[in-house]
């Protein structure tokens, strides 16, 4: 496993170091990820797997402190090792109060790493502020700032004990490191002198405090409050108890939600930026996740698609600079990262080079294409750049660290199909998975939602001035649009895409916008068989007349299967200009040159009623959900009993526990998890489900003449082979393509066929279409005899061609009890010499193991555990590349990349150098983020 791509699942905390120019994201599973310049990535995992609540970088150090929800603090550091930097956990620490004190006494709510780099100030729920030494985490008890000490030094008339409960915010004075600002939850703010242990100023806020922020010169600070207001306070030497300068409720007068965090940024031109999170009118916009930016008369409330976790502002890191001059705002929302360019008029978003939200619509399938020719690559990029014109041209502002990984050796594309009918093209060559181009198939169809409906239309005088940002949109207008299979021919630029409602689109790359009619054909896979009734969804309605398509892949042919079941397999042969598709009912072959259906074949077993009733997923999921709900009932019964047992005195508890144990034992006896042992019969369901389609030019009929052929494998262990007659190029438009069934193989073990492959005379897999024409592969050996490899979920079998005699087999399931889920031919090159490489099968099993099996002798070479076997969606999402790498989803939003080949390794390798620390550095509070104490 080499690198994770995409957006961290369930992020929970954000941190930024302006010194290192690195950003850190913590997640609810205890992972911490650091990002800098593209390619600079680090990952760490807390052993406890607890939620990361806060992240604070230590000023001017390659170190950071994390606070978990179990109240433990962890010190991480970036150290160079073997030429590259690594992130390691150094220390851990849990604050302990005196014996007998309540846990809230030490519950940390605010963390302030002091600019001296020697101590951390920890604000707690009890109101006490503890001081711990770094990096040892030794508590300096004599320096603790107790709430009693603070109260003694504040005039008592307007304070009581309760005003010093719960430290909400801790901020160091930007010019004077001996002063810190303490904000208590009830509204009292105290400026504390660390040297003399006394309060120099105190500020009485009337509202519950949320957060604080210093102005750069230290003469003022700003506080934000629970009622949606913010207040500016002066700090002067003559007044020890100043009144607020200004108190504003930006979205009043009606009750507003809390402003949980605020920034005050000065600029050269005098107009400060005030940036705050929340504060929306409670009644009408209380459900929005917003961050407002106010600069003079400009005001925008950025409206995020998911809850805002945290945000920070990137401003000048020059400590001597007079102004902040903010350049960008980085917002971590629950489902995506959004960066806003604050320097360009209109505050456009910046296109992120990493942390892309893969799941902006749920991923339904993926397809990987290795070694893309430069020409196609450039055309896809240029099509994509036309889609990205609304993005800012600002370079990526988080640029810390240096990527020292070698340049990716080739251009790789990862295509993801999504539930909303889009296909996204990702640059998967390197560590950063970067969106190149997005293709939508929606325009071909008539759907309820009007695609011209612009989400961003906003009247001039609308209040609040909301603006939608971000791409996360998990709601699909029509689930039938979902993409199920993708096939891209990298040489010709033909793309075939198939979807949930039996739609198959063939597309061509066009560099210009175009308006044309999409040819439409229907493939009746039941061939007028009587007595079958489709109870699933209807087919998609097509749009009549010409449709306008933007530059990029433009569909020219649409084939719709009837019944409109999910397309389960797809193959495209760009040289013969044929596309084959299969569903649970059968398969068909379409000539996209002549736009003519060549043939269809029904694979349905007459007794297979389930396949006819409707979408596969529904039948299956119903069964599954029933089973799950029964399990849940059982489990909840168990746990409710457990809870009952927990109350009462000790002996009762024991008794109850004993009873409970007995009960559960009995229950286990009554309903054990058991599995039925039964041979598969021909009458099993979904036997007709077409699992795989394969084009091959081979010896199907006799050993003297080879011809184009189409192979199909079904769930019931049947392989069909069709002999094709494709007219030569010059008569390609005049003569029809003909097909004739030549062979049918029934595997006696009846396991689903998941892969079909033909090996040439040298036992090398046949090349892809057009590969030879582009001089990228040796032409196949047509002299020696060809062999057919059929991979079922249980066995690998090699047959001779054309006689189809069984030659070799590997009975994987009978030997190991695992079943094949995914199989691909992978080319393994030697990392020592360039001239040796071999082809093997890369196999993913239902146990999440990856096995390499040699060709053509079917010997198991090696096995690695890769995916947890419980992670069904991870196993289902796995896709192998042609050169022994692979991807699978570790969460809805993240791909894990792995490599089976020593030659092709894509993993982050980067270095973070300590920038020069100038002597006056620590005098200034350069970083808002470091010191921004967050409400936990």
């Amino acid at each position: 496993q080499t690198v994770e791509h995409g957006f961290p699942h369930q992020p929970s905390a954000l941190g930024y170091s302006p010194f290192l120019r690195l950003m850190a994201i913590g997640t609810r599973s205890g992972a911490i990820k650091l990002y800098g310049a593209p390619g600079v990535e680090f990952m760490g995992l807390h052993e406890e797997n607890n939620t990361v609540m806060q992240i604070h970088f230590i000023p001017d150090q390659c170190q950071l402190v994390t606070l978990l929800d179990d109240n433990s603090l962890h010190l991480w550091s970036l150290k160079q090792h073997g030429g590259a930097s690594e992130l390691r956990e150094e220390h851990r620490f849990t604050l302990k109060g005196p014996p007998g004190s309540p846990p809230s006494a030490t519950q940390i709510t605010a963390v302030l790493p002091h600019s001296s780099r020697e101590v951390l100030y920890l604000g707690t729920e009890s109101g006490n502020i503890f001081v711990v030494e770094l990096p040892s985490f030794r508590v300096l008890e004599d320096r603790t700032i107790t709430s009693e000490a603070v109260l003694q030094r504040v005039p008592e008339d307007n304070c009581n004990r309760r005003s010093c409960e719960l430290v909400e915010a801790l901020q160091e004075h930007p010019k004077n490191p001996d002063q810190i600002l303490i904000g208590y939850s009830r509204g009292l703010i105290v400026l504390w002198d660390l040297q003399n242990n006394k309060a120099t100023h105190h500020f009485l806020g009337s509202q519950q405090l949320e957060n604080l922020y210093w102005q750069r010169d230290g003469s003022k600070f700003i506080s934000c409050h629970y009622d949606g207001s913010y207040t500016q306070w002066p700090v002067s030497s003559d007044n020890r108890q100043p009144e607020p300068l200004e108190n504003t409720v930006p979205y009043g007068p009606f009750p507003c939600k809390a402003i949980s965090k605020i920034y005050w940024q000065t600029t050269k031109n005098g107009l400060p930026y005030i940036i705050f999170q929340g504060g929306m009118p409670r009644a009408s916009y209380g459900d929005r996740h917003s961050i407002s930016v106010i600069c003079g008369s400009q005001q925008t409330a950025f409206d995020f698609t998911s809850r805002v976790i945290d945000f920070f502002i990137i401003f000048t890191s020059e400590p001597t600079a007079e102004f902040d001059d903010p350049s960008a705002m980085v917002v971590l929302a629950e489902e995506e990262l959004v960066v806003i360019d604050l320097k360009t008029a209109g505050w456009p978003a910046v296109h992120p080079p990493y942390l892309a939200s893969l799941h902006c619509s749920a991923i339904t399938c993926s397809h990987h294409v290795s070694n893309i020719p430069l020409k196609l690559w450039e055309r896809i990029i240029s099509a994509g750049s036309k889609q990205n014109i609304h993005y800012s041209s600002m370079p990526w502002p988080i640029d810390g660290g240096t990527n020292i990984a070698p340049d990716p050796p080739q251009r790789d594309l990862l295509l993801t199909g999504h539930e909303d009918g889009t296909v996204r093209f990702w640059d998967a060559s390197g560590v950063c998975l970067h969106l190149l181009y997005k293709l939508s198939t929606v325009r071909v169809f008539l759907t309820d939602a009007d695609p011209n409906d612009n989400m961003n239309t906003l009247g001039e005088d609308e209040w609040p001035p909301l603006r939608k940002v971000g791409t996360f949109d998990p709601y699909s207008d029509d689930p039938r649009l979902g993409i199920q299979k993708i096939y891209l021919c990298k040489y010709s630029g033909y793309l075939a895409v198939a979807g949930t409602a039996g739609q198959v689109l063939v597309m061509e790359l066009n560099d210009e916008d175009a308006e044309h009619v999409v040819d439409h054909a229907e493939a009746d896979l039941l061939q007028d068989q009587e007595g079958y009734r489709w109870k699933g969804h209807e087919k998609l309605k097509t749009r009549d007349g010409p449709v306008r398509f933007e530059a990029g892949f433009q569909p020219f042919v649409l084939v719709q299967c009837q019944p409109p079941a999910v397309v389960t397999s797809l193959a495209l042969h760009s040289e013969w200009k044929l596309v084959a598709f299969g569903t649970s009912h059968g398969f068909g072959l379409f000539d996209h040159q002549q736009k003519r259906l060549v043939f269809v074949k029904c694979t349905l077993h007459p007794s297979d009623q389930l396949a006819l009733e409707g979408p596969l997923s529904r039948v299956k999921s119903l069964k599954k959900s029933l089973r799950q709900s029964f399990r849940r009932i059982r489990r909840s019964r168990v746990s409710s009993r457990k809870r009952r047992g927990g109350s009462g005195n000790a002996s009762e508890v024991q008794e109850a526990n004993a009873r409970f144990d007995q009960d559960t034992l009995q229950e286990m006896e009554l309903a054990p998890v058991q599995r039925k042992i039964e041979a598969r019969s021909a009458e099993d369901s979904f036997t007709g489900f077409v699992r795989t389609l394969y084009f091959a030019d081979t010896f199907l009929r006799d050993s003297s003449r080879h011809c184009p052929s189409l192979w199909a494998g079904t769930n019931g262990g049947t392989v069909y082979a069709f002999c094709l007659r494709v007219p030569p190029a010059e008569r390609r438009m005049d003569e029809p393509v003909r097909a004739e069934q030549a062979k049918e193989i029934q595997l006696m073990h009846r396991a689903p066929v998941v892969g079909i492959l033909v090996l040439d005379g040298r036992s090398t897999p046949l090349p892809e279409p057009l590969e030879v024409a582009h001089d990228l592969s040796k032409s196949p050996d047509m002299q020696g005899s060809h062999q057919l490899l059929v991979v079922s979920e249980e066995q690998f079998k090699v047959f001779t061609l054309p006689k189809v005699s069984s030659k070799l087999k590997l009975k994987l399931t009978a030997l190991e009890g695992c079943r094949v889920r995914k199989v691909t031919v992978a080319n393994f090159g030697s990392c020592k010499t360039d001239d040796y490489s071999e082809n093997d099968l890369a196999v993913l099993t239902n146990l999440g193991d990856i096995q390499i099996i040699s060709l053509p002798f079917l010997k198991l070479q090696i096995r690695y555990p890769c995916i947890r076997k419980e992670d069904v969606s991870g196993i289902a999402s796995c896709v192998f590349t042609k050169y022994g790498q692979g991807f699978y989803l570790i969460s809805p939003s993240e791909f894990e990349r792995f490599s089976l080949s020593t030659k092709w390794l894509v993993e982050p390798r980067c270095i973070v150098d300590m920038p020069e620390v100038t002597s006056n550095n620590h005098v200034h509070n350069k970083s808002g983020m470091e010191n921004a104490a967050r409400k936990s």
Partner: protein, 347 residues
């Protein structure tokens, strides 16, 4: 010698008459012979009474191959499941009995059943507390009919007794093969499946292994009830049993693997249908021993005009709807027309 003659399928007559007919055809009126036939699965089964004689004739498709042997030379072990395909040399042994004269069998009785449904095997090499059961699924309509579950069993280890996870039989389906054998019972611990140890494997893995081997399932169990174990007294007797045992390595899985090799091959002959031909079982690519055709046999042709394949050109596409099934299934006379479809056999 090889004879070919016809017989009326509707009126086969009595076994005695048929026996006489055979003696007449072969001109061996006073020789006692043993009569056998190959059934649709390729098994060599005996004909020795009216019932199995009628059964044999009714399965003729349309040829019925009959084998006759002199009673004194007869090899009874040739009869049974998978005999034809399991050992290609079974028939040659039958026919060349005098060349390879084996120890004469003590005939207790003729096999009463057509084929075994189960057997206990490897008794001589297994510990007495274990039992290796082979279930012959092939050819029977009965479901295997049992369920397995997770559980824990106690093992003796160097550190004393230890609880280890195990797989157990949890339920037998009434009327299923497993129940009807009487060799498996609820709570028996499953130790091996076709020679592969199940320890360390999950319930789902073991399930998949059993299903993958369902045509020829051999499970080694530790019966929950240890009172019915086979009692061996090899140590005292000093018979051949002991020498066999001592010569065997202690790890049984290898032996089972070797033992099963030959049998396993037979269970999975895939079917290939050519565009114009009839289904055939996929042959082994390696040149194997001579085919059955080369053996001396009597082919019994029964008179039926409707037999003979239709020319492939007349194949109606509608008939291809059903996927093909096992080609050696007993044909139902009522659905004769479907069966004789040119490219595909539909049942």
């Amino acid at each position: 010698e090889f004879r070919r003659f016809s017989l009326e399928r509707s009126k086969p007559g009595k076994f005695e008459e048929f026996y006489g007919l055979l003696q007449h055809v072969h001109k061996i009126p006073n020789v006692d012979v043993l009569v056998g036939y190959t059934d649709i699965h390729g098994d060599l089964l005996p004909i020795n009474n009216d019932d199995n004689y009628h059964k044999a004739v009714s399965t003729a498709n349309p040829l019925l191959r009959i084998f006759i042997q002199r009673k004194e030379d007869a090899d009874y072990s040739a009869f049974g499941t998978d005999t034809m395909t399991r050992k290609k040399n079974v028939l040659s042994t039958v026919l060349r009995a005098d060349n390879h004269r084996k120890k004469p069998h003590i005939v207790i009785s003729m096999p009463q059943d057509f084929r075994p449904v189960s057997s206990i095997i490897d008794v001589d090499i297994l510990p007495e507390t274990h039992r290796r059961v082979r279930l012959y699924k092939y050819g029977t309509d009965k479901p295997l009919g049992f369920y397995i579950r997770d559980g824990s069993s106690v093992r003796v280890t160097p550190h004393g007794l230890e609880k280890v996870p195990g797989i157990f039989i949890s339920r037998l389906v009434p009327g299923g093969l497993a129940q009807s054998t009487g060799l498996l019972a609820v709570n028996d611990e499953v130790l091996e499946v076709n020679g592969i140890e199940v320890s360390g494997k999950s319930l789902d893995q073991v399930t998949d292994m059993m299903i993958a081997n369902s045509r020829n399932l051999i499970i080694t169990v530790r019966p929950a009830n240890q009172r019915n174990n086979v009692v061996r007294n090899s140590r005292t007797s000093g018979s051949s049993g002991q020498s066999t045992e001592s010569s065997l390595p202690s790890s049984t899985p290898n032996i089972v693997g070797n033992l099963l090799q030959g049998e396993e091959e037979s269970d999975e002959e895939d079917i290939i249908i050519e565009d114009s031909g009839e289904p055939r079982q996929i042959p082994k690519a390696a040149p194997s021993s001579e085919s059955i055709e080369s053996l001396s046999q009597i082919e019994l042709l029964h008179e039926s005009t409707q037999n003979g394949f239709l020319p492939s050109s007349e194949v109606n596409l509608n008939h291809s709807s059903g996927s093909i099934s096992m080609e050696y299934e007993v044909p139902d006379p009522g659905r004769k027309s479907l069966e004789e479809d040119g490219t595909i056999i539909t049942l």
